[in-house]
């Protein structure tokens, strides 16, 4: 079972749709502990991505993901721009040159993406950031690969782990990003970055559920 180029394009388009639908929700979360721009920034970035998606025959999965990364870098700004750009660039480099990939490949790609985010943002698990959704999702993918689960099952587990990580950010006191200025007052709010990260992985699990 494998994810093809067509599936990757569908995932990106579906995520752009999810972001458009949740733009106000993400901005609302950001207004609580940040600066009320996460939804709008992500939406602007992914609308630009839709314009630039290479759908031609010559574009392999690596090139598609790297194009997404470069577009986000030049269109989003803030911290979200470089961080989301890094996710797609690193995943793209990990899967470079392939026409399709399996669960183990995806586990490696997301691990590289997470390492990139950690390097750039200097955040650790528990700092109330995207890393809190990414880290458990990567672990779930690795476990699923070892247990020999199907692609669909593995992706579902990673989305569930990301969701748990996202919910677990609620009581945390932020130690990175703009929410950290609030200190104790950041506790009790769900991190917007972890939320959009969960949406990204949840969309992958849904869109790629029946890849054959």
């Amino acid at each position: 079972m494998a994810v093809t180029k067509k599936d990757v394009l569908e995932w990106i388009k579906a995520f752009a749709q999810v972001i458009a639908e949740n733009k106000e929700y993400l901005t609302e979360l950001d207004a609580q502990i940040g600066d009320a721009d996460h939804g709008a920034n992500m939406d602007r970035g992914f609308r630009a991505v839709l314009d630039k998606l290479p759908e031609g025959e010559d574009a392999d999965i690596g090139k598609i993901l790297k194009t997404v990364g470069m577009t986000l870098l030049s269109k989003v700004g803030g911290a979200g721009g470089p961080l989301y750009s890094t996710i797609f660039m690193q995943a793209g480099m990990s899967i470079d040159g392939k026409d399709s990939f399996d669960l183990a490949d995806w586990a490696k790609a997301l691990e590289a993406a997470t390492a990139g985010v950690v390097r750039l943002g200097k955040a650790s698990p528990g700092d109330k950031t995207m890393v809190d959704a990414l880290t458990p999702a990567v672990q779930a993918l690795k476990d699923a690969t070892e247990q020999g689960l199907s692609l669909g099952e593995g992706l579902k587990k990673s989305a569930e782990a990301a969701e748990e990580g996202m919910i677990a950010t609620i009581p945390l006191v932020a130690r990175k990003g703009r929410a950290s200025y609030l200190g104790e007052r950041s506790a009790g709010h769900q991190d917007p970055g972890a939320t959009s990260t969960f949406m990204l992985l949840d969309t992958a699990a849904k869109v790629w559920a029946n890849c054959s």
Binding site: D35, A40, S74, G77, G78, P82, R175, G177, R178
Partner: protein, 333 residues
């Protein structure tokens, strides 16, 4: 939301179009990637100064582009850091062969994007120095936060460093001066109302009619504490004392006192704050040798004020008095 805009998506674009029409003698506006550059850039042999940040803080930074201040400014979306491609193109446009200094306010996004732009510019053979401004004493500077925010001191740094670059000082001298300014300036702000980000459509935070927020940032980030509104003199004490204690400023120091409006607070109130601040400083033996009063680093229409103090010396006083000709600050010309 009640705003004098056409479309929330177009506010920055239409603002830039207005700036282009208003100040052709001072600046050129480049679109896609967006940046504002001195009309005579690049100035041969002069260190180029580039800053940038989210929009919504006008006149900073675009209003500070011109003779004696910045060579270029990169505006991001409202309250959102600009992107590396904007910063790279602005850097190339102002490189007169003496290198380029990036003045970066300490926010996670600004730091990341400017770091990437500096790497790209270095790869193209341009000598780059970067200086981070982090003067806001409301935020604890510890390993557990993103560090103190860059606020009011940015305005003073851009003026002073701009004058030094105009004098022909080298990239290293200009960068060292900027770091010295950062090390001896501190700020703190407060809000009486929230602000409304155009694309969000509603106030960033709810602040009841009779309450104020102390330790506010410039992006509508809630501050340190919230309390009932107090008279101006008491609020001035709440802002100025932490500023004095943090550095600390001491008896015998000569300072520049900057009382800034967050956008919605009128000059009449800023002068009331200034009056109390000078009285407090005189009592401590601190002498105000220069001042700046007005809306220079704003947070859209937020009502509130911030106080910045910078320890001065003869060189800084000379640089402060040097001619400047920008849309937002102009004297000596």
């Amino acid at each position: 939301m009640k705003k004098l805009i056409n479309n929330p998506e177009e506010v920055v674009l239409e603002e830039l179009q207005g700036i282009e029409l208003a100040h052709p003698d001072l600046v050129k506006v480049h679109f896609d990637p967006d940046f504002i550059v001195r009309a005579d850039a690049p100035v041969k042999g002069k260190v180029g100064l580039v800053s940038g940040g989210g929009s919504g803080h006008e006149p900073m930074h675009g209003g500070f582009v011109g003779m004696g201040m910045l060579d270029a400014a990169c505006p991001g979306a409202v309250f959102t850091s600009p992107t590396p491609d904007q910063m790279l193109e602005a850097t190339k446009a102002v490189d007169g062969g003496a290198g380029v200094l990036h003045i970066v306010k300490n926010y996670t996004g600004d730091i990341m994007n400017f770091e990437m732009a500096a790497d790209l510019a270095k790869a193209e053979g341009i000598e780059i120095e970067s200086v981070v401004v982090d003067d806001d004493v409301a935020v604890k500077d510890s390993l557990y936060t993103a560090g103190r925010r860059g606020v009011g001191l940015t305005v003073l740094m851009e003026k002073l460093v701009g004058a030094a670059a105009e004098e022909g000082r080298s990239l290293k001298e200009v960068a060292d001066l900027a770091r010295k300014i950062n090390s001896q300036g501190r700020s703190m702000g407060m809000a009486l109302t929230s602000c409304t980000v155009p694309h969000a459509g509603k106030p960033t935070f709810d602040l009841p009619e009779d309450e104020m927020e102390i330790g506010i940032g410039i992006h509508g980030e809630p501050g340190r504490t919230r309390m009932k509104v107090k008279p101006a003199d008491e609020v001035t004490e709440m802002l100025l004392n932490p500023v004095i204690e943090d550095l600390p400023f001491e008896s015998g120091d000569e300072v520049l006192l900057f009382v800034n409006s967050m956008g919605g607070t009128p000059l009449i109130e800023l002068y009331i704050v200034y009056r109390k601040a000078v009285e407090m400083l005189e009592a401590k033996g601190i002498k105000v040798v220069r001042n700046l009063i007005g809306p220079y680093i704003t947070s859209l229409e937020m009502a509130g004020a911030s106080i910045t103090m910078l320890k001065m010396d003869d060189d800084l006083i000379k640089l402060w008095d040097a001619p400047v000709k920008t849309a937002g600050m102009r004297w000596g010309v």
